[in-house]
């Protein structure tokens, strides 16, 4: 009997997510570039970042950006590896390395964003 031992997952979910996240990243990237390079100061001084981060919406957008970028990027890398016939142990170690690396750097990015303080403007600063 021909019985596939591979997973039943055809990869269609990963395929569609890759397209959706990709399109979202294009939109986010346009905003990112306008913000960072149209006025170079806005991306390169602490005061500007601090002022921007007073709006929680900017934080939410940045967190989304990191998450989507990390998912899209590492899923893309994994898709490259999937093009080659890999031994099971190689698959497992590459995938876990990518997941650990992705989670670690996402957490690092999150912690950087969360470390930026909210300045309480009511207290008279």
């Amino acid at each position: 009997m021909y019985k596939y031992k591979a997973s039943k997952d055809t990869g269609s979910k990963s395929w569609i997510l890759q397209r959706i996240t990709g399109l979202a990243l294009v939109v986010l990237m346009i905003g990112h570039y306008i913000l960072m390079h149209f006025q170079p100061e806005s991306g390169h001084t602490y005061a500007a970042v601090l002022a921007r981060m007073q709006f929680s919406w900017y934080r939410i957008i940045d967190l989304t950006f990191i998450t989507l970028g990390m998912y899209h990027g590492l899923n893309g890398i994994w898709n490259i590896f999937r093009d080659y016939k890999l031994k099971q142990w190689a698959k497992i170690s590459i995938l876990s390395a990518l997941i650990i690396l992705g989670l670690a750097f996402t957490a690092w990015g999150y912690s950087v964003i969360f470390s930026i303080p909210y300045i309480n403007s009511i207290s008279g600063n």
């Binding site: 397209r19 170079p40 602490y46 890398i77």
Partner: protein, 145 residues
């Protein structure tokens, strides 16, 4: 011989392994816009993931306060880093425009005109790349002329 025009006769054209140039003739991708887009998409994708890690590292001095962050940003604002950023934008552009092309091929019957889309993405890419250069180096360009 009368079957030569039929599609079932392609077996005769498959070369054997002991032929000298078998690999280059059979295992090489055809150098066409589709395969160029494919390999460039991969290369730019890998570069962008590497940059994403680097980017999280490079903005992490935000946690160390204003002085440390501004010092770091000063080094990243040097002409060398600006040129590197400009070429990074080229990678972003190619990946984004070709990504849009891939979505059109997948979802909007773009397979019929994917070569035109490839050329169009290059046209848009070069224009946006030069426009970004003009914006980024506006100050330097003003000093030159």
């Amino acid at each position: 011989m009368e079957n030569d025009t039929n599609s079932g006769n392609t077996y005769h054209k498959i070369k054997t392994f002991d032929q000298k140039n078998w690999v280059s003739e059979n295992l090489n991708y055809k150098k066409d816009s589709g395969s160029r887009a494919w390999i460039l998409h991969r290369i730019s994708g890998i570069a962008l993931v590497a940059y994403l890690f680097l980017h999280i590292y490079s903005i992490s001095p935000l946690t160390q306060g204003e002085v440390a962050f501004n010092n770091k940003m000063q080094t990243y604002s040097s002409p060398f880093f600006m040129v590197v950023e400009w070429f990074l934008f080229a990678f972003v552009l190619f990946h984004a425009l070709n990504g849009i092309r891939i979505v059109i091929v997948d979802w909007a019957d773009g397979a019929k005109y994917h070569k035109q889309l490839y050329r169009l993405s290059w046209v848009f890419g070069v224009i946006l790349f030069l426009a970004m250069g003009a914006i980024m180096f506006a100050h330097e360009l003003k000093n030159l002329f």
